[in-house]
């Protein structure tokens, strides 16, 4: 009861509400404009919110995250270009509906079911975070190492066309994370005599480079179509009519929550899975799937928004992010000297409640902005890329500089921007690298601690892996690795 009152108290804190609102408006624009992504905006926000209180920074990030994932549907419906990867599936039925002159109706469906998905995810985060944290208190250093390794292998497996490339990306990220002073002995490691590297490669310019500047290069070099805007006719549809799919949307939200909690899978996978199950589950859709079935929008939008809460569960309770945005979010915690993990909710309950409150407030703004503002910003999302991208490049530079007030970081951002661009062109996903950079130091520390604790024991292997949790995690890592071996896959296909 106290927790509920504490969360509700944030609703009356005008400064807090304003922070979430600013984030929500930014999220609406960023998510809707093709070429701008929620990950990019969150990475830029880390540098802007560097000097703010953690509560304010997280309130704004939550606003961007919740509304940004939803607003990808705007350009998906109006332009047939998903504003975010999570909205790819929404284009399948959203754009055909818009071509029939029912764009406003499609947007209403997207808004209401994004709201249901987001609310479901955040409420489940609220309910499940404490028991999961309590369980995670039993974890030993080796368990943390294996859990992070499981996260990296999963991201590698799910985000890349080739598993090897996903793992290469993760290994390169681990190398980057090891640069700087070693936390145990205090000796410089992989700095090669460069003074600026002694403190390590700062995460913010790396993230801005990988997600921001590389995106600028991808968009400008990609010669993509600007897209043709569907007409926005005024079609009347009652809210009661829109909401008649609420029960089935909870099932899609559950898919989103589970997929979101799995490290690496993220909203695009969730929406594809939900869409697939909608095709099997709903025998008589309003129109054939792919030709303007509102049920397609219901499945895609409830699942991709429920991922938000799902991805935050492992991030807050185990410090293992569920997707790229939560990996960047984790860096917000670190920048503010906070340590997510099993003790986070016990040690900082007010911050946990503020995240829940920010998520719920963002849901309110999602509804308001989605119903009243989204149909009116249609013209803005067709802002030409030749104007938009140079502005984003400047934001990347200033964002990279602002964290530490040093030009060296702008250089780091450019290097990682070009690296991210080359990797994406060569089908190496950047998400495993991001996760590895964020988790690398933790993995290194826990691994060395586990090995040095096990060394004096009589049976070294049993001391390392002898506990049931450790064995279960080791089995998970091995399953992911073995399932990618060609002969294992062939056997299972048979």
């Amino acid at each position: 009861m106290d927790a509920i009152l504490e969360v509700l108290a944030y609703f009356t804190n005008m400064r807090f509400v304003l922070m979430v609102f600013s984030g929500a408006v930014s999220g609406l624009l960023v998510g809707a404009i093709p070429g701008l992504t929620v990950s990019m905006a969150t990475a830029l926000l880390v540098s802007v919110t560097y000097t703010w209180a953690a509560q304010d920074a997280l309130a704004m990030v939550m606003g961007v995250y919740v509304v940004g994932v939803f607003s990808g549907a705007l350009s998906a419906i109006l332009l047939n270009i998903p504003g975010a990867p999570a909205s790819v599936v929404t284009t399948l039925d959203g754009y055909p509906l818009a071509r029939q002159g029912r764009a406003r109706e499609a947007l209403r469906y997207a808004t209401w079911y994004s709201l249901i998905g987001s609310l479901f995810g955040i409420l489940m985060l609220w309910a499940l975070a404490r028991p999961i944290s309590a369980f995670a208190l039993r974890f030993q250093p080796m368990d943390y190492f294996l859990l992070a390794l499981f996260g990296l292998t999963m991201v590698g497996a799910l985000t890349a066309t080739s598993f090897k490339r996903g793992l290469v990306s993760a290994c390169l990220g681990l190398v980057v994370s090891m640069v700087g002073l070693d936390s145990v002995l205090g000796t410089p490691r992989l700095t090669f005599g460069i003074q600026q590297l002694t403190a390590g490669i700062h995460i913010v310019p790396v993230l801005i480079g990988l997600f921001g500047f590389s995106e600028v290069l991808m968009v400008l070099g990609g010669q993509q179509d600007e897209g043709e805007m569907a007409r926005m006719l005024k079609s009347l549809i009652k809210t009661r009519e829109v909401l008649k799919h609420w029960a089935v949307s909870l099932y899609f939200s559950l898919i989103g929550l589970l997929v979101g909690a799995l490290p690496g899978a993220g909203a695009p996978v969730a929406s594809f899975l939900a869409y697939g199950s909608a095709k099997k589950l709903i025998k008589k859709p309003s129109a054939p799937f792919g030709e303007g079935a509102v049920e397609g929008i219901v499945a895609s939008e409830s699942a991709n928004n429920a991922c938000i809460g799902g991805a935050m569960i492992p991030m807050l309770t185990l410090a293992i992010p569920g997707d790229a945005v939560t990996a960047i979010m984790l860096s917000v915690f670190y920048v503010h000297g906070l340590r997510p993990g099993p003790l986070f909710i016990r040690q900082s309950p007010e911050l946990f409640h503020s995240i829940i409150a920010a998520g719920l407030l963002a849901c309110v703004f999602l509804l308001l902005l989605g119903l009243f503002v989204a149909p009116r910003i249609a013209r803005l999302i067709t802002l030409p890329r030749r104007v938009l991208m140079p502005l984003v490049a400047v934001l990347c530079a200033v964002g990279a500089f602002a964290g530490n007030n040093r030009l060296f970081d702008v250089g780091v951002m450019l290097v990682f921007g070009v690296l991210g661009f080359v990797m994406r062109r060569r089908h190496y996903p950047v998400a495993p690298m991001t996760l590895a950079i964020v988790l690398g130091r933790m993995m290194d520390e826990h691994f060395r601690r586990a090995v040095s604790l096990a060394l004096p024991e009589e049976n070294f292997v049993m001391a390392l892996f002898g506990r049931p949790i450790t064995l279960a995690l080791l089995a998970l890592v091995l399953i992911v690795l073995l399932s990618k071996l060609p002969w294992v896959r062939k056997r299972f296909k048979k």
């Binding site: 066309t161 991208m389 490049a393 030009l407 060395r448």
Partner: protein, 167 residues
Amino acid sequence: MKLQRSSITNRAAFFEGCLILLAGAALGWHALNRHAQLARVDWALSPYLFPLLVSMGLFILGILLMLEGMKPPNQTTKQPLHWPTVVMTIGCALCYFLLMPFLGFALATALFLLAMLLFLGERRVLMLILLPLVFSAVLYILFGKLLHVMLPGAPVDVLGRAIDLIL
């Protein structure tokens, strides 16, 4: 081992594999070499234990990618790429980064935006003048004045000094 020229069917993957294998080998050598220089430090506590493990991972992945390079490439649709735009954007960004200490943040930003807009085909004079000036000024005020970021300044940064005078 002499590799037959025709056995490499996916050259890009093969050379990427070579590069990753070399990176793994170099990291492993560096880790072993640096650990040897540390006086009486056990491997369990060594800062080079984890780099050594990662180097092994890179080495194995490099070999696997090289093997992949010997198989026919997957039939994936290649996305078109306009290389001159990419090279020019990187070049402009590099100049922006290198010139910022000499021109100051506001002037360097305005010039970078002008160059990029012109290169990307923007020809509306009003847009070419107003957008770089207004956007640079907004960022200068937002970051330099409101968020107290110490943006690079220079005597020739007339734009920054003009904003300072107005404020």
